[in-house]
Amino acid sequence: MPPGAIGSQQLQRGGPLPGYFQPVEVSGPEGIQIAPAVGGSFGDPKRDVMTAGMLIGAVYRLRVNNIPNAEGVEVYPTVEVIDRLYPPIGQEFRFPIPINLSPEELEMAAEGKFVTRVIYVEDPDNATPVARKDNEQAYFEVQAGDNPLDVADSLGRPVAILRIGGRVPDADGPDELFMYGSPPLVMWNPRQSPQTIRQQPTFSGGPQVRLARPLRGRAQRVSAIESTPALKRQAITR
């Protein structure tokens, strides 16, 4: 299914999904730079790890460069959050959805292949009895004809979809369709002083996005970015 289709169906089912910014942690090999789509262009890149709150159902385009052993190569993955987590209050950003960009997958994307990774929450009753480190994420490989979402749904509860490869921006710069409308994003930077809230300038002049629920605990720097509803609809329907 195209990016955004599954998340938009999740929104239609109702429940506590619309308006919730689900923290997501995108990480990669050491030295990698990750920049999210902000206001029609790519924002400040984050080194090694980028943590942000993402709306469920929206599609977020990222730019990944400075890849080790592949200097000069840029990859443009997308992240789609299709379900939320339920951590204790104040622990939202301590338990984000981990999305790991492995060197192998980045290399395959640079070669023109398309990689789909469905991240799911393991069922503790059927978890594999293997100790893991915090940043490790096991994965199962499925064939090209199989539906990875179906397989993930049988193993646990899918929460996010990562797609790498496929499209690259036009030579004259990324257009709005490529950026999926640059949906709102809540950036997280634990190194900043607490309680500092910055709202970046908007490119559409529309109303500011308001958080559906207050972020407590260790949320230390929050910036909200908005986009037009028309662009979001356009992006989701593609």
């Binding site: 981990p98 990689v115 789909t116 893991r132 994965y139 509860r157």
Partner: protein, 433 residues
């Protein structure tokens, strides 16, 4: 007949203690074959080897007093000691603490059974409106699904992953089983399903099928009123503090107080164990919110200044609920053995690789001596016991066995009987997988 001897063990305590009691023959208790290492794959048999070693016991601490040796006359108050212990050295203070269990203690506010706060309401994460997915929480403790029972040879049956139970013999030869409360730990773990597609594999050419069907434009115009409106709902962010009890019991039965020596546990009590129920086995109302956080489950609180009711010359218990207009009075017969077991964890959240401490507090809240107390904790798949971290405040034989979840069954066999009012602590560390 004395009123104090009439008020006895209470209703089924779903959250904190154990209720199911069965009359079974007593003898050595062993795991049933289906839960024993013999049933596991051969590759794992090495890990199942029974490691019999005494718990990290309290080497520097004086041994906890055993039942028959304790008399009131054993206690000797230190000379010229201020009420707050000022002017004492650490050794003197330790000696005084050691002596504390021997003191005759006056009943304080409540020494009876803990009472479940809301017996029919399942646990849910605070601030989250249901339904909520259970896959992000690790649960340990209690006795779910198949109830633990003993086989003809006194082997333990029905011990599933996550179960934590205590088994003991009564003075009249019965064997009883009681489950602990359930501890919920937020520790989600993620995995992924990956699909790699080469773009060439998706190349296909569509050709017209050769059928031409002219279609006339349709002139019908229909204005339909929208019948469906999607109204986004904001998440419920309100935090509801649930009262931990809808049930109140008045009991003046004294023996539930148990002053256990702090020196029984290496390093004394941890910060998360700074609760009277952990230190002395006494529930205080002021601690209920902290205890709720510690066990993330229903908790008890009591009150000792309500109306007393007698039925047929025996003191009764007023059982009330918030959904009922009437009150029910009941009383229990004396000579009811009862063991209370409470389980708490040092953290509410943990990531893979982190260490979590678990503490089990058990007390004889009955009115008779109980013997052969055995505590069994069957760890869930994602909890890995950290070797050599088991401690016990009482003399116990600690053993481990592999279970079907590639984790361990922890078992403490207490040799000394528990007199009414006595109790103890066991503590161990687990690594979150």
């Amino acid at each position: 007949m004395k009123l104090a001897n009439i008020i006895r063990r209470g209703p089924v305590l779903a959250a904190l203690l154990l209720a199911s009691c069965q009359s079974l023959p007593k003898s050595e208790l062993r795991l049933a074959p289906e839960a024993s290492p013999a049933a596991a794959p051969p590759a794992k048999t090495a890990a199942k080897a029974k490691t019999s070693k005494p718990p990290k016991q309290i080497a520097a601490a004086p041994e906890a007093p055993t039942g028959d040796a304790v008399t009131v006359s054993d206690f000797q108050e230190p000379e010229e000691v201020s009420p707050r212990g000022e002017g004492l050295t650490k050794e003197q203070l330790a000696l005084a603490v050691e002596k504390l269990p021997h003191m005759p203690v006056e009943p304080q506010c409540y020494q009876g059974h803990p009472i479940p706060n809301c017996p029919q309401t399942p646990w849910a994460p605070p601030g989250i409106a249901g339904p909520w997915p259970h896959d992000e929480y690790l649960q340990d403790g209690g006795d779910e699904y198949v109830q633990v029972n003993l086989g003809p040879n006194c082997e333990i049956r029905g011990l599933e992953l996550q179960d934590t139970v205590a088994i003991y013999d009564t003075k009249d030869g019965r064997t009883k089983i009681c489950a602990s409360n359930k501890v919920c730990l937020y520790a989600p773990r993620f995995a992924a399903v990956r699909q790699v597609t080469n773009l060439i594999e998706n190349l296909q050419q569509d050709q017209p099928i050769g059928l031409a069907k002219p279609v006339m434009p349709h002139q019908g115009l229909e204005d339909a009123v929208a019948t469906t409106t999607i109204q986004p709902l904001r998440p419920q962010g309100s935090v509801v503090t649930r009262h931990p009890s809808i049930e109140r019991r008045n009991e003046t039965d004294a023996p539930a107080i148990s002053l256990q020596p702090v020196l029984g546990i290496e390093g004394g009590f941890a910060i998360y164990e700074n609760l009277l129920v952990m230190k002395r086995g006494v529930f205080e109302e002021s601690e209920k919110s902290r205890l709720l956080e510690a066990i993330d489950a229903a908790i008890v609180w009591t009150h000792n200044a309500a109306v007393q009711v007698t039925l047929d010359g025996k003191q009764a218990v007023d059982v009330t609920g918030d959904q009922r207009a009437q009150a029910t009075y009941r009383y229990d017969e004396p000579d009811s053995p009862c063991l209370r077991i409470v389980k708490i964890a040092s953290k509410k959240t943990a990531k893979p690789g982190e260490i979590v401490e678990f503490t089990l507090r058990f007390d004889n809240v009955g009115d008779q001596l109980i013997k052969k107390v055995v505590i069994v904790d069957n760890l869930t798949t994602r909890l890995e016991y950290v070797p050599t971290t088991a401690q016990s405040s009482r003399r116990a034989d600690f053993t481990t066995e592999a279970n079907e979840g590639d984790s361990l069954v922890l078992r403490w066999d207490f040799a000394d009987p528990l007199k009414p009012g006595e109790g103890g602590l066991v503590r161990f560390h687990c690594k979150v997988r």
